[in-house]
Amino acid sequence: MITLDSETFAYDDGVPLLAGLALTVRPGEYVVIAGASGSGKTTLARLLAGMTGADAGSVFRGSIALDGETIRFTGTPTDPRIDPAAWSSRVAYVAQGAWGQLSMMSATVGEEIAFGPSNRGVPPERLRRLVAEVAAALKLTPLLDRDPRRLSGGQLQRTIIAAAVVQRPRILVLDEPFQGLDDDAVQDVAAALEALRRDGTAVVVCEPMLPLSAPSGARVVALADGRPVFDGALDEGLRAGLRRYGIGAAGDPPRVDPGIAADRDRRSPVPGPAHEPHREPAREPDREFDPPLVILRDVTFRYPAAGEPRPQTGLTGVNLSVSAGEIVAVRGPNGSGKSTLLQHLDGLYRADSGSVTVGGILIRRQPTGALATTVGYLFQDTDQQLFERTVLREVSYGPLATGSRRADGARRAAEALDRVGLGALQNAHPYELSFVQRRLVALASLMATGPVVWALDEPTAGLDEPTRSMLATLLTRHAAGGGAVVLATHDAAFADAVAHRSIWLEDGRIRGTSTAS
């Protein structure tokens, strides 16, 4: 049993969070912490995981009690330190962002899963059995010999979850674990969590939106602006009108708002003027005469084996054409080749055979950077995309690299930030932002270069309801202004509401196409 009693918590910016929050999680309980961006979910999860952030300048006042042993914090330097090794043997934590959690000391998925238990001295025989069991439960068995750094986003996410589940902790805290998983994987992970609960493990799951279903007896704690606003059963939560706190329900369609200026972040105090993107003036798509903006002809691609047992099939014989004004969703299970396909559009990967044409440019051997003004790519993992030390520098990198003058680049960046509602955060460090804000910085950084084709990899993963609706609006506007959008997604409701067409990939091949009604 774990009890968190928070009087207040503040990061080094001093804004108080989690004031007067008390949370007790009993053995075998399943608790969903739901809240919009900035509501304090991750802070709460980290506190449960024993990370009070004292070494990073955070101030926590309150107490954490684990199995009857209470540790008090007064927010002063004399506060006790939590021993991470001992704490994590009882409370396992899966943070957001799978890349950062790889040990970098494993050549295979099997070793990566075994890393935790082997550190705690689990005998080799048992270790191998545990890994095999967890891998089977999470459908990772065929991937056990793969290099964890070369997996698809969803495969990696499953690996990280497996590495936590295999530790059989008393308490398992997962920050948005279902992000980027396909429907089957969601079921597998849910089943694995259920198996742990039967053995008495308490499970705490953070979610940006209320899930549509949860295991029986699940409890929902909703947070808004760092305060608890609801605590009860899921079906009550779904009827409790939490939308006013920006907490939507997963599976709801986004609210598209193509007419008026984009929804701005509620917390952003500086509303910027509405700017049109830097492109040729808006026009009606004319499919009879305009050539498509994206044409893939019989594209086949294989990842080099590079030390792995066999080369991975990326794409096989893919044909696709996307016209100006069109939004196309690329769907399919984890590892089916969605990200691989998107990275062919901006030249990060080059087809082994077949051809790719974007915005009238046939991609041959020209440098990837030369395509950035035509195609913007939103990486599946934001951590792979951001590299600058302030938000403004990050977003103006694109315009400057593609030849804008300094002042012009800064202006474009500021405009793009305004359009995603982050105008007030220009000088923040990208690392200090919340997950959703970082995602929006990444989006703004591709918008600032003004490409006509947007290739977005899982753009809605981890977004809260207001941001997801804002994104829907941005995409719809971009298409209406003569652009094209290709997005990889597992968010069926979003794809159905926003995309004109979905293509379904399986094992690198297009298995089917469906058109929105």
């Binding site: 934590y93 995309q385 590299f387």
Partner: protein, 251 residues
């Protein structure tokens, strides 16, 4: 894997460390040069990733060399043969010789250690240390230190990809490649500084710093033969170094 592995990674790492010790002890430029030409150079060329390792050595040793040259070349107090007098600084022959010797030694160090680390099979190294029952703290320190290298490499690759996706043009010409390299360094260093503490706490949260014995998922690839060879290497280098130092002191 880029090359066929003959020795256990622990043996390789130990050999590299002992080589560095020898260079330090012997302290003659002829010896440093010999190690560089007959040890480091073939090892880099045969590594299967000569380009990356060469680049890494240049990136690390280059600035060291330059600073040594500036520092000792210009400000060598014992220097008497003045070549150029710049007022506050004097370029002396002794200073330059000293700087060259220092530079050579630093190049050998970085060359030996980087080559060893960059061709290291880290999982196998950890497994061997674990099977040999090494001290936990040491496994942690060595593991997180060498684990940093693939992390840096991966991060550098990600930053370059992100920059290219946003318009950084990297052509085929060496100058263009060099500019791309410069573009990647600042974000890389800053990112790594930010990551470092996160990474450490992540490793701790996965129990890497736990007390008690560790176990290994990988089988033991070490052989009694290599274990004996390692002991012999340490003994020989130890005895040789002691003898050399005594002789040097007496003479």
């Amino acid at each position: 894997m880029p090359r066929r592995r003959i020795y256990n990674p622990l043996t390789e790492l130990l050999a590299a460390v002992l080589l560095v010790v020898l260079v330090l002890v012997v302290n003659r430029w002829e010896f440093s040069l010999a190690v560089l030409v007959f040890g480091v150079l073939p090892a880099v060329l045969l590594s299967g990733r000569a380009r990356q390792i060469g680049l890494a050595i240049v990136l690390v040793a280059g600035p060291l060399l330059l600073s040594s040259l500036l520092l000792h070349g210009l400000f060598f107090p014992e220097g008497s043969t003045v070549l150029v007098d710049l007022g506050i600084a004097r370029v002396t022959a002794e200073g330059l010789t000293f700087a060259a010797g220092m530079g050579l030694r630093m190049t050998v160090f970085t060359g030996v250690l980087l080559t060893a680390a960059m061709t290291m099979d880290i999982p196998e190294l950890l497994a061997t240390m674990t099977h040999r029952g090494w001290n936990r703290k040491l496994v942690f320190i060595v593991g997180s230190a060498v684990g940093l290298l693939p992390h840096v490499a991966l991060r550098a690759q990600q930053v370059t990809r992100a920059q290219q996706a946003r318009g950084l043009v990297v052509g085929r010409a060496p100058l263009s490649r060099f500019r791309a390299l410069v573009a990647v360094t600042t974000p890389l260093v800053i990112g790594l500084l930010v990551d470092a503490s996160e990474r450490n706490s992540m490793l701790e949260a996965r129990g890497f710093s736990s007390p008690g014995a560790r176990t290994s998922y990988l089988p033991d690839t070490d052989t009694p033969h290599q274990r004996r060879a390692r002991r012999a290497m340490v003994a020989v280098v130890g005895v040789f170094s002691a003898a050399w130092l005594v002789i040097a002191a007496v003479a």
